[in-house]
Symmetry: D2
Subunit: 350 residues, 4 copies
Amino acid sequence: MVVRVSIIGASGYTGGELLRILALHKEVEVIAATSREYAGKPITHVHPHLRGFYGNMRFIEVNLDKIMEADVVFLSLPAGVSVNYVPKLLESGLRVVDLGPDYRLKSPEDYMRWYGFEHPQPDLLEKAVYGMPELHREEIARARLVASPGCNSTAAILSLIPAIKERLIDLDHIAVDMKVGSSEAGRNPTPGTHHPERENVIRPYEASGHRHVAEVEQELSKIAGRELRIAFVPHAVSSIRGALATSHTWLNSGVDEVRIVKAYASCYGKEPFIRIIRGPPVGYPDPKYVIGSNFADVGFAYDGRVGRAAFMAAIDNLMKGAAGQAVQAFNIMMGFDEREALMIPPLKPA
Amino acid sequence: MVVRVSIIGASGYTGGELLRILALHKEVEVIAATSREYAGKPITHVHPHLRGFYGNMRFIEVNLDKIMEADVVFLSLPAGVSVNYVPKLLESGLRVVDLGPDYRLKSPEDYMRWYGFEHPQPDLLEKAVYGMPELHREEIARARLVASPGCNSTAAILSLIPAIKERLIDLDHIAVDMKVGSSEAGRNPTPGTHHPERENVIRPYEASGHRHVAEVEQELSKIAGRELRIAFVPHAVSSIRGALATSHTWLNSGVDEVRIVKAYASCYGKEPFIRIIRGPPVGYPDPKYVIGSNFADVGFAYDGRVGRAAFMAAIDNLMKGAAGQAVQAFNIMMGFDEREALMIPPLKPA
Amino acid sequence: MVVRVSIIGASGYTGGELLRILALHKEVEVIAATSREYAGKPITHVHPHLRGFYGNMRFIEVNLDKIMEADVVFLSLPAGVSVNYVPKLLESGLRVVDLGPDYRLKSPEDYMRWYGFEHPQPDLLEKAVYGMPELHREEIARARLVASPGCNSTAAILSLIPAIKERLIDLDHIAVDMKVGSSEAGRNPTPGTHHPERENVIRPYEASGHRHVAEVEQELSKIAGRELRIAFVPHAVSSIRGALATSHTWLNSGVDEVRIVKAYASCYGKEPFIRIIRGPPVGYPDPKYVIGSNFADVGFAYDGRVGRAAFMAAIDNLMKGAAGQAVQAFNIMMGFDEREALMIPPLKPA
Amino acid sequence: MVVRVSIIGASGYTGGELLRILALHKEVEVIAATSREYAGKPITHVHPHLRGFYGNMRFIEVNLDKIMEADVVFLSLPAGVSVNYVPKLLESGLRVVDLGPDYRLKSPEDYMRWYGFEHPQPDLLEKAVYGMPELHREEIARARLVASPGCNSTAAILSLIPAIKERLIDLDHIAVDMKVGSSEAGRNPTPGTHHPERENVIRPYEASGHRHVAEVEQELSKIAGRELRIAFVPHAVSSIRGALATSHTWLNSGVDEVRIVKAYASCYGKEPFIRIIRGPPVGYPDPKYVIGSNFADVGFAYDGRVGRAAFMAAIDNLMKGAAGQAVQAFNIMMGFDEREALMIPPLKPA
């Protein structure tokens, strides 16, 4: 069986990454790829690396008639835009994977607070499933609408699941320090992403209210069984791809290294895309080793002297942090092998 | 049918890349991977990105009994080392793909001149096939011993095939200006590859006698039908992967852009891994767009005012410049689809 | 008056940086530069950028007779080596600036715990002055032996002085997240600093017991008036130069943004090399803007929602984090203008 | 005596670099810095690294009354803009250093051909002096209008002066292969300079008619005593700063290494900012070793086997390739020590 797929918003980095992955997917045919800016141009105009794949396929305008010839639609759009399309797609019986933030949060008020718009479909927020298989695999399998997580959020949440689920840490003092590569900011050039300005930065940004905190707190609070407030500071660093969450925590009394190891094994032992890192030679997760792949490498540093631990998760922000995770959820939703098109080894050195 | 493969010299970058590619190969099982330095250690000790592939496979010492349980052996060794193993492998009926230089040159004297050792098997030099499918596809299909080309050589030769084959240029003035990423120098740290020393260089090296010139002149002379002397200057630049050959030439009288375009089409129109680049948006080949893939992007700049043209070829030095091209030749030699395990889109942005 | 200076350990990055700075110093003549490895070779052999400065100066072996013709000696040596020279230098009446760790800690036991050797001169630990002018300017002015701080320590301490001195934060939950460039690891190549391995990393290292924690806790505890335990996780990122400390803290009740701003002004308002960063356009400190200079840029992110703040300090690890700060202390000790040879604007873009 | 200086176009990279250098100049006071885009904003808004220099100086609009309170005006403007200001500045008795191309070419027709505009002041083209001290030091000393060379041109010309002046090479086959860092393209972000797109490129551009060829051919033809046509292919590489010219040539018969060495000594032996590189340890010029400085490192590779040589010049494109060379010419024109404010050692590692 071939599943027909449309991609709305295919000229950005996440769109390009969806195209790259789906070119390898045995059960998928991409029938439409939209781009407002590049409609009419070949997809290789924007994604020259894809020459030799997809023949002469061209971007189209958002044309719902054409798009809805698909069975499944991926959307990769700025905040507040997916809401214009998703209801109609669902009504027509299609399944939807939205890579933007429009359906990630459960509380309509959060959209006003974090994104500055009133959500027009509060009912859909309940039906949407937060598309992180490690948390919601079974709901994803039954979902019509998957809200795929953000890249910072994915790393932050994956770093902390074992610590919170297994009650290892003081829940009142959690500081997530993120480091991300430049592709995280998307495809549009800005003064801050101009190469001479962006290379060699170690630049804190949105350090007191990054929007991704909302979904991090939502998902981790669910696990904790109480409301959490997370300190969250992202930093832009020189890489193109890669995101590392270093979550600084203080341990509950009696928690030692063995307890932590067990918590990881219990939470992640069977996950196909989580790799638990215990050195040597590489002691901790580093995005360097997951580039181009859907893996999340997780691990921790235990510091008995200070009674604390740092929990880490390393991902490729465009893969497990975006398109890869979306295809993983898509595979689950469609009943395919969860790993289809995704078991590509990371590229190294790169 | 599953082909059993051994890799001698599997801990370097080329070895790692072979492992990465072969993990995707439907017809291959890797039964042995050797490393003098890391024998006994898991392959993930050196190639942490390969966690999750190859189970708990460990490097072994060079043990020919074990190695020869394979059908085909890849060797990725320094100059002068493969000659110790290849005769025995061939005698035992195995096929061999050597990624080192030991069988690339046809003339035994060239080994003394360029590599400083007397070649112990001049007869094998005749039997070995230079493993560039674009030049020797049919011989590769019949070969027992493939000598896979070097990375600089691959880019240099591919840049010039149409110009020389189709008699477009003055053969007495050809200057190949190479730019290569840091992975080209292999896995062993040296003062010159130390990150603070290597990053941001635009560093000419071996600018008057790089060893790869020997195979470039050998193969291009064959095409030209006369002996060529090539000016060849490699430069180390900041990338990790990627090699670009810019071949500066002066055009024969009457040669215009149309003639050049035709020459490309005639030489490369049917090649599965050659992509002819004619802008826009990207006007010339750039290794940026082939990272992680086996593609060679080729193109040219025609400058009528000066009566010259620059012919370019861009590759990933570890793929089309090493492991990818070796697997391509292996596929041809074994009768597989030439593209098996290699039609992976490049990674971008990266 | 010209002060004669010797440098013991002049072939490393810190030694090279001392030479670079002192070439601009109006009151200094460098009379000797030692290097065990490169004795007899011109200093430009190791520091080719210094061609055109220092004439034909060559490295010498550690020859105390020659070295002690100086008035002041800088030492830039691995842990445990300076102790072999410093007592004799002091006895001979010279002044000493040690850029290594041998005299930074006050408690002899700390040397066994953090550095693994028994300190042979506990009495000198008392006399040595921790060479951070922002903390100990007056003692430096009277010192014979200055122990110049480490690069991570400098950033960490400078990030937290206002918060701790002005009682803004919960002292039991301080997590310092460091990001540093590759030059921080020094001049010797290792597998982990090989360019293809080091570029693009976001690599946590020594995440549960980095030696620099000892001096950070020592100096901050002094300010706090009680013993502190600091969570400290350094990360290697892709830059060559630069170190950023992001210190995650929770605020005492009633502390708001205004209080924090005042604390900065009070602690740093008159410091010649501290620049307080309040955006726009650049909102937070970023080492990008201090490259090549002795400045430390400091700033903070206040997050009222979570009741926390992140305090940041950005330095060039080889300048304010090493050679620049050492020369700053030297200037103070010798009664020169503190800014002599150091008021060079940062290089940007770089 | 303090010379008052105005800078028209001070918000770009070259303008920022002028400000950085002039902050160190003992004889200069900058009285005005213009920026159309940022008029009214502090110069540190655009050049945050300059915090602590120039007090609260703000950009102004181009206000000739204010600007002409200066003794000397530097202009750093796009092609075709300086011509609007220069005549009036000269008439008012000011001296002018123009860092743009408006007065570099001697032939008015060349402006139409290469820049697409008719030059309004052909007479000034004759009076302007091409501001390369190594070629025109004495004319610069007498000049009222200096046209400071472009960065590519500077490297290309400096690489070839000895070879052409001393009649070492075949003048009909000269191919200049340039590699330049990202700052060369200026301060305005474009899709091609967006960090994820620009990092890791080895990207040929304007490969058959870069505008800088015009001034290269003009100046080298003058030396050769006949008209030259140069093959010229620039490549964008990953560095931020740095430009390397590799000029591929074929040697006249009888020219050997000794002749070449003599030619360098004769042409450059007394130049304060030219460093002749003969390894070891670093065998050839590399922009890595001139970053942040006004030096041009020059050298060559002699290849007797092929009868050719590659002549190289490495510069910091913003320094010797722009602002540094402009200040060097300014020093000469004003009768200052040519090295004033420019004898700053390169930054390394960087």
